[in-house]
């Protein structure tokens, strides 16, 4: 970290300056590369680094800074400052945990050095839970150990409200079932005491048998009803939860989807909801009923004979202990087996998908080797978990049975000495099983509960995230198609604008080509136009009205998009064409398909318009998918049309057909087209050339070519590259 700029008196402890600290950030690596803390401090005029000891190891005036950047390193990064004298000074290293903050800080330094307004936001992020100091799995997220369980439980409980009648009946039925299951040993006890005796009392026997039969019949009916209720509640609550989450996700801002992976979002709809309803419908009754049963039975045992009860319950703590001790490692092992199974499936899938490659390289043996490895891994994991399971289970059984042993020893002696009747002895032994059975599982409940709560939190997080503002519905406005950008600034990350000072007007029916290198801001402009995102500054007007005043549904209803990789939904061709206008008459669908040059290839398919397109349209070729998406846009009949690289992934013949179709589609609509191959934009009314987020040039193809500016240079490069690129070129 030494450089000429380093302050000469590195040993002096930093005095507090009058300058306000604008940026202060702690890193997690010390100067020598081990973990430690150093602090970056930026004021209006200086940058300094202070070690944990208070020693200032770097100090430079902000006026000497030319630019600040973040050099990505393996497992972290380093902030570097380029000085005006051409020196590159490494400032501070940090791990990936802090990378986002330091890149924010670097932008802040640049903004300050240029004398611009400080636009960055260095939010204080929680890495650890405030209560228990555990690290958080997501920054600023919920600590799974310290959730507001009461509050969350209450919120989950709301999902029961529509089914309160069923829920209450379930509770009552379950209670009745439990009581009935306790009644049978009573009958049996009385049978032993009063019937199975030297003086035969057949009438009582028959009476008791009738009671027993009654109880049996009743409890069976109750169990059937119980099961039906559980099925009903489980199904309905699961469906309600999934709908609620999905509906919330649908209306979320796109920024949410930028940050999370599709898989993780889908998991919230499926597995997180499963955890919650599973706990609600199965966990809660399990806890309540078994808890009640155990308390009741223990009370009854003590009431029958306190001494005997105390003796036979001695192994209870041991059983609970074993459960608590082994539950977690056991569940981890089961988890591991399921992971190995997943990996096994993945491998199997992959090798079958790649079977052509395997055969072409004659690598069957190699693949079998890998397969065998995974297979054995799975086998070993399965064997080891089962081995462990049966050992633990055996120990459990031993201690559970010990209860019975004690009961026979102590109880037996009591019966012999006449302190206990045989019937009472029988009842005690029957109830014993009711205690020991569920006891083994109680230690699992806590984990069950925690998981459900964590799932619920994730669900509620989605539901509580701010959704898009949809504006007032019903205020329908027919768009003519004038689009006006005024001084628009936007960044996905607010401190880092991707678009700056964008100003242009597209007249109704004009075709505007957006041109520029990748990353220049073409797609971002489109995203803003569709209002997937809103400008940070400036205005976008459609027909002279700020587009935020147009209801979102209305706006998007009149914008059509044809993408490079069109997304089709699994369904028939006709359904896909009619996606933007459900219930359109079939004639219109055919009309649209004809205009899109799709009619002929559709007719060539055995099922014509009823042919299924497969998942994401996989049964069609790229050009076919493209023409269907054009037909979809034609039928949708938007006033504003967006073509995002619509012709780049098809062969020449198909492209001709698509170009023709597009020619028909853009008639009379305001069109924005992005194309990588600049020659395809020759027909555009005007071209907007973007460079680093700003408009470099605007004009017709001809004007820009004559001007020999940025656009001309782009065309030149492209022509040059087209000549060189070819398979095997240069060998």
């Amino acid at each position: 970290m030494e450089s000429e700029i380093r302050s000469a008196d590195a040993s002096t402890v930093v005095e507090s300056t009058d300058d306000d600290v604008l940026i202060r950030l702690d890193s997690d690596f010390s100067e020598d590369g081990s973990y430690g803390t150093r602090t970056l401090t930026v004021t209006k005029s200086t940058i300094s680094i202070v070690e944990l000891s208070g020693v200032r190891s770097l100090f430079m005036p902000l006026s000497s800074v030319k630019s600040a950047r973040n050099e990505p390193l393996v497992g972290g990064g380093r902030m570097e400052i380029a000085t005006k004298s051409g020196e590159i000074v490494p400032v501070i290293s940090y791990s990936l945990t802090l990378a986002a903050k330091f890149s924010e800080a670097a932008r802040g330094i640049e903004q300050l050095a240029k004398g611009e307004e400080l636009l960055i936001k260095l939010k204080e992020e929680k890495l650890r839970c405030e209560k228990c100091d555990r690290l958080l799995p997501e920054r600023d997220g919920v600590c799974p150990a310290c959730l507001h369980r009461g509050k969350t439980m209450l919120r989950i409980g709301q999902f029961l409200v529509p089914y309160r009648a069923q829920a209450i009946s379930l509770a009552i039925l379950s209670f009745a079932t439990t009581v009935l299951s306790l009644a049978i040993p009573m009958v049996q006890g009385s049978l032993i005491d009063n019937v199975l005796r030297p003086q035969h009392n057949v009438t009582l026997l028959l009476k008791l048998m009738a009671v027993w039969l009654g109880i049996l019949a009743l409890s069976s009916i109750l169990q059937v009803l119980n099961g039906r209720l559980i099925a009903f509640l489980a199904g309905h609550i699961a469906a309600d939860l999934r709908s609620a989450v999905y509906r919330s996700i649908e209306f979320l801002q796109l920024t949410f989807f930028d940050k999370k992976q599709v898989g993780a979002i889908a998991a919230r709809v499926t597995s997180d909801t499963d955890r919650v309803w599973g706990f609600l419908v199965e966990g809660v009754p399990f806890l309540l009923l078994n808890g009640l049963t155990i308390l009741g039975v223990i009370g009854f045992l003590f009431w029958t004979n306190a001494l005997l009860a105390a003796c036979i319950l001695v192994p209870v703590p041991i059983v609970i202990g074993i459960g608590a001790f082994f539950w977690k490692p056991m569940s981890q092992m089961f988890h591991r087996v399921s992971q190995k199974t997943a990996r096994f499936h993945m491998h199997l899938n992959e090798s079958l998908h790649g079977i052509r490659v395997v055969k072409a390289f004659a690598k069957e043996d190699l693949e079998f080797g890998k397969f065998r490895h995974r297979n054995h891994e799975l086998r070993d994991a399965g064997v080891s978990v089962d081995t462990r399971w049966y050992t633990v289970f055996g120990a459990m059984t031993f201690f559970t049975s010990l209860g019975a042993l004690i009961q026979w020893t102590v109880g037996g002696m009591m019966v012999v000495s006449g302190k206990l009747t045989l019937g009472e002895f029988w009842r005690v032994s029957a109830y014993l099983a009711l205690v020991y059975g569920p006891l083994q599982w109680f230690s699992a409940v806590n984990q069950w509960f925690s998981r459900a709560m964590a799932g619920a939190e994730r669900i509620f997080e989605v539901m509580d995230t701010e959704s898009e503002s949809y504006g007032q519905r019903g205020s329908h406005r027919d768009i003519v198609g004038e689009v006006e950008f005024t001084n628009v600034r936007f960044g996905y990350d607010k401190s880092n604008p991707v678009l700056k000072r964008i100003t242009f007007t597209a007249k109704p029916g004009e075709m505007i080509g957006l041109v520029g290198k990748s990353g220049a801001g073409k797609s971002t402009t489109i995203n803003l136009l569709c209002r997937f995102y809103e400008p940070d500054a400036g205005e976008i007007r459609i027909d002279g009205v700020d587009y935020r005043d147009i209801a979102l549904q209305d706006l998007r209803g009149q914008i059509g998009i044809v993408l490079q990789e069109p997304f089709l939904f699994n369904g028939s061709i006709a359904e896909n064409i009619a996606y933007g206008k459900p219930g359109a008459p079939f004639e219109e669908v055919i009309e649209a398909a004809k205009a899109a040059n799709a009619h002929n290839f559709i007719l060539a398919k055995p099922d014509g318009y009823d042919s299924m397109v497969g998942e994401k349209g996989s049964k069609l070729s790229g050009g076919e998918r493209q023409r269907i998406s054009i037909a979809r846009a034609i039928l949708h009949n938007p006033r504003i049309l967006i073509l995002d690289e619509a012709t780049s992934s098809v062969d020449v013949e198909t492209e001709k057909q698509i170009q023709e179709a597009l020619g028909r589609l853009i008639q009379g609509r305001t069109t924005f087209a992005i194309a990588h191959r600049l020659s395809t934009l020759r027909n555009a009314s005007r071209l907007i050339v973007l460079e680093k987020g700003e408009i470099a040039e605007i004009g017709t193809h001809e004007e820009l070519m004559n001007k020999e500016g940025v656009f001309h240079a782009l065309v030149q490069t492209q022509t040059a590259i087209n000549e060189i690129v070819g398979i095997g070129a240069g060998s």
């Binding site: 393996v74 497992g75 240069g730 060998s731």
Partner: protein, 176 residues
Amino acid sequence: MIQKVTSPPSGKALNGMNEMDATEIRLFHFPENRLRMTISDQLSYVTVKPVWAAPLSHPDQFLSLLNGKGEEITTVSEVTSLSSDSERAVREELRRRYLTPAITSVEIARCEFGITYWTVQTDRGRRDFVTQSLQENAQWISERHLLLIDVDGNRFEIPNVADLDVRSREFIERIV
């Protein structure tokens, strides 16, 4: 279509350029924070960035030296073949560029609520971290070589699980 052959980079020439005699290479820091290189005292590079070609499967081998633009100047297949001064300089630079710590012992590894909390000792000091879904984030590079990736993408390497103490091994055995 017949392509015009512009510059025929023959395989030999490439190898000759990219694998030179390691003793001809001199690496040093000047100023303090910039790694420079001279080759045979004829060629000089003012900024050199060393990167491992395959840090996981071939640790300490195949060190690629890049120029300021990120283009390869040469590859050193054995770092030890450099002169001791050069080796020291390049290792210094590598330590600055590779912030992946090697775990020397596992103090705590607890699975709770579907995530795993770790407290480990590494060659860079003690560190706490959290991993989610170990199926993806605990990668076995080889039979004994393990890579853990935390929720932020930080990587923690265990070059050889068998070298750890018994307690650490038990944690790994149980959790991963």
